[in-house]
Symmetry: C2
Subunit: 113 residues, 2 copies
């Protein structure tokens, strides 16, 4: 595979670079982590991540949807219920996010838990 | 542990949030990936990541040093040789970066490799 070959030559695979930046954007990792526990309504993100503003949450959800990581579903009527869930591609990020979580709990000692 | 407990309650551990943002900052993931192959001189990063400017490389290296992920060593004389290497904390990121790399090569199909 071309990507692997490039890495063997000491070049960074652009796919890896892109992946890190997608999940590394401010709050995206946290949002994906919440979704790993199951489909989530807009308001429920705010319970899980109190510091996140409505505006930024909307922006990040839209980006993650465009990246094909999450799926948005509208149901009900007056008021409509908007629910977000992981796509298969988003679910497949679990091992990477888990490994990062393990590292963080072990090494991010200077950050209050 | 307080962080784990918070996550069980549906809240995102601030350590996880911080970890994702540290490695997700533009080019940081790529720089860490290069360093996983061993100590690297300033100029060698540019071979591995051609799109990265000197200014941004310096900035990122300084940040990663402040975060305790990399170590900077100056040796020689006229010209001095500056070499960067991973600290134990930086080396411990390998499983997470590897998992992310696997995911990227499988799912980031729209990004040219």
């Amino acid at each position: 595979m071309a990507g692997k070959q490039k890495e063997d030559q000491g070049l960074i695979c652009p796919r890896f670079h892109r992946a890190v930046e997608v999940i590394g954007r401010r709050w995206s990792g946290a949002i994906l982590r919440v979704l790993q526990d199951g489909p989530t309504r807009f308001g429920a993100f705010k319970t899980a991540i109190p510091d996140l503003s409505d505006r930024l949450l909307s922006e990040r959800l839209k980006e993650l949807e465009e990246f094909g990581l999450i799926h948005r579903e509208v149901s009900g009527d007056r008021p409509v219920v908007v629910t977000y869930s992981l796509t298969p591609q988003g679910k497949a990020l679990k091992p990477a996010l888990d490994a990062l979580g393990e590292w963080a709990s072990k090494y991010m000692r200077d950050v209050p838990a």
